[in-house]
């Protein structure tokens, strides 16, 4: 048997760090190409269709950027949390909680001029997302209850709660039997930023938050603490970093970002809450964050990339008869390839010969 050992690099070459996500994407796309062949289509034509579908016209670019909006926000949610090794896999639920807050406050309960109404809805959405995570982070801090499982489980609870509200008390009577919430009032709707498309102000807002998170993580004491907790919580604690407070802040920031993704979808794209508001944006955020190496500015680009895969795959599916699930496969492969490339960035692989008695 071939034996090998991983040896930690003293310093990873800069070009390797820069290049690694691109190599990971390339490998994922090549691997998915075999599935396209399996589907009986030409992979080059199919990928061509995908690129045209995502970037081929003003409308498709707008669609891609609109799709990127919530993914950037959930990607930021994962980036903040994973930096501190706080495994918040509950962005999906937090997104829906943000959407619930938007529906609660944005459909007539509160009426403010647009300039105040929109920030108000974002604050409420962020609070809702953070609030959902709060009991779970307290359970982790006080009782060491594993947050991976609790955040995952709560996603299902929240979706069922949304289902109940939309079929029951919050159902829009004007919706002709479809379970959907009341429309957000005009003052709360995020305005279009490109005429005759679905691209709305939420995209600019998500980029603003990417820069804000970058500032917090790399220029403030809080950001430094978050990083140190993630690298080595015990050492950070010895060095005087308040672990409890830091993890709490991480959770609130992370949940808040995911909650705001619910605001952009409810007040921006659709204008009302539906049960299929998010086709897995919360989980896509994990892929986006990994692809960006947890860098908030990188999240903008990886978010747009992932959105282009999703939007383009719809067009490709129609033209080439390849199931749209190919997009999800590409995203999953990208996550695994990026992990692989991270190993190569940080370690050298040394092979040595077979030993006897093995």
């Amino acid at each position: 048997m071939i034996k090998f050992r991983l040896e930690e690099r003293a310093k990873s070459p800069y070009w390797l760090i820069i290049l690694s996500p691109f190599i990971a994407i390339l490998v994922a796309i090549i691997l998915a190409g075999f599935l396209i062949v399996l589907a009986g289509a030409n992979p080059f034509q199919s990928y061509n269709q995908l690129v045209i579908g995502a970037f081929g016209s003003k409308n498709s670019v707008a669609e891609t950027l609109a799709r990127a909006t919530p993914i950037i926000l959930t990607g930021l949610a994962a980036s903040i949390a994973f930096r501190a090794k706080f495994w918040n896999i509950g962005a999906e639920g937090q997104l829906y909680f943000g959407a619930l807050a938007t529906t609660l406050f944005g459909t007539g309960l509160v009426v403010l001029p647009s300039i105040l109404m929109i920030p108000f809805l974002f604050i409420m959405g962020a609070l809702a997302g953070g609030l959902l995570l709060l009991p779970l982070v307290l359970l982790k801090l006080y009782y060491k209850v594993d947050e991976v499982v609790t955040t995952l489980l709560l996603n299902f609870v929240v979706v069922l709660l949304v289902s109940y509200l939309l079929e029951g008390p919050w159902k829009d009577p004007m919706s002709l039997g479809w379970p959907q919430g009341k429309s957000v009032i005009g003052e709360g709707v995020l305005p279009q930023i490109l005429s005759k498309t679905r691209l709305h102000l939420g995209f600019i807002i998500s980029i603003f938050f990417a820069f804000s998170v970058w500032f917090i993580l790399s220029k403030t004491v809080i950001g430094y603490r978050i990083k140190s907790v993630g690298l080595n919580a015990a050492a950070a604690s010895h060095a005087g970093v308040p672990i409890f407070k830091t993890v709490l802040i991480v959770a609130l920031l992370s949940g808040g970002m995911a909650g705001m993704a619910g605001v952009t979808e409810t007040a921006g794209l659709k204008g009302y809450l539906t049960l299929d508001l998010s086709p897995g944006f919360g989980y896509a955020g994990i892929a986006v964050a990994m692809l960006a190496n947890l860098n908030p500015i990188g999240v903008i680009f990886s978010g747009v990339f992932l959105a282009s895969i999703y939007v383009g795959a719809d067009a490709m599916s129609r033209a080439m008869n390849v199931p749209t699930y190919l997009a999800d496969v590409i995203v999953a492969l990208t996550v695994l390839c990026i992990l692989l490339s991270l190993v190569f960035v940080h370690y050298k692989i040394l092979f040595f010969g077979a030993k006897k008695n093995d």
């Binding site: 489980l153 299902f156 609870v157 709660l161 008869n321 999800d328 692989l340 093995d358």
Partner: protein, 315 residues
């Protein structure tokens, strides 16, 4: 009110408990195997999903039901091997690898399903395992219909669990697996390959998870549909923590959990439309969280869980 108590004295309730418990037990024992060896397997949800799809599709395309189980076993093992290459040999993050495996396994399963059946709006059905009567025992009053009129898959699942118990508690491999999760350095000092032991545990565990998924499509129901695993994998992970990583407690936990689930379905029918059905559907997830909180105080993680083993490095 008496009807709510009478539920637990019906054979149907106990039969349903076994039926609901089977996939959970298989998945939970599978996860115990992985985690006792030191590897968290968050791929469970996706592995169950692709196991359900592959098992069902094998039968739909003409093979017999037992071949369906074997196919699920194989696909679970393959994804387990993938997980092990990443987390054991390369030492990648177990959390992210697991999420990646779940995303890949479920999306690949959906992709293949759509490829073979492009335009099926209603999921096509197969003839699943039928209940068999165990001679004599099935004729017992109450006990017969409750425990001895199940499908062969159910009895196979029980055999698999007995096998897993025997493996963990009475074989050198079982001991090695437990050591790999507690003190891998000591295992390596004995000349045993830690990587190999962990890989075997993850492959076997993942195969069990996939069979748990296949139970849904080959025995409990007769069709495959998207999202049919519906969090069962995550619930299994909560049960592992609840059981403090002990297989026998995991078995009890899964049965208790299934019992509560079977009970709520029947109570829901009695309660009629008083309480919206969504709240009943939330119960399993909320109960899992509660179970984790209850277990939190006495929880003792395998010491080397989440710690990648690197040859020639000291911890």
């Amino acid at each position: 009110m008496i009807e709510f108590i009478e539920i637990i004295f019906t054979a149907g309730f106990w039969a349903a408990t076994i039926r609901i418990a089977c996939p959970l037990i298989l998945a939970t024992i599978g996860e115990v195997l992985c985690e006792r060896a030191g590897v968290l397997n968050l791929g469970i949800e996706g592995i169950m999903s692709i196991g359900a799809m592959v098992g069902w599709m094998t039968v739909f395309l003409g093979a017999d039901l037992y071949t369906g189980i074997l196919a699920a076993l194989a696909i679970g093992g393959i994804f387990g091997l993938l997980h092990a290459i990443f987390t054991v040999y390369l030492g990648a993050s177990q959390h992210v690898t697991g999420i990646g495996i779940t995303m890949l396994a479920s999306s690949l399963g959906f992709f293949c399903f759509k490829l073979i059946l492009p335009s099926s709006t209603t999921p096509p059905k197969i003839k699943p395992f039928q209940p068999i009567d165990i001679p004599f025992l099935s004729e017992l009053p109450f006990l017969g219909p409750a425990f001895f009129q199940h499908t062969p898959f159910t009895y196979l699942a029980i055999l698999a669990v007995i096998f897993a118990f025997w493996l963990m508690n009475s074989t050198p491999l079982g001991l090695s697996i437990k050591m790999a999760g507690e003190n891998p350095m000591a295992l390596e000092a004995q000349g045993i390959d830690v990587f190999l032991v962990r890989t075997i545990a993850v492959v076997l565990g993942s195969a069990l998870m996939a069979v748990g998924g296949a139970y849904l499509t080959l025995s409990a129901f007769d069709a495959f549909y998207f999202g049919m695993i519906n969090g069962r994998g995550w619930i299994a992970i909560a049960l592992v923590i609840f059981a403090s990583w002990k297989p026998e407690r995991a078995l009890l936990g899964a049965l208790l959990f299934a019992g509560l689930d079977a009970y709520q379905v029947r109570a829901q029918q009695l309660a009629g439309a008083v309480i919206p059905y969504q709240f009943f559907l939330m119960l399993p997830f909320l109960l899992s969280i509660v179970a984790m909180v209850i277990a939190a105080k006495r929880t003792r993680y395998p010491k080397a869980l989440l710690v990648p083993f690197r040859r020639g490095e000291r911890h």
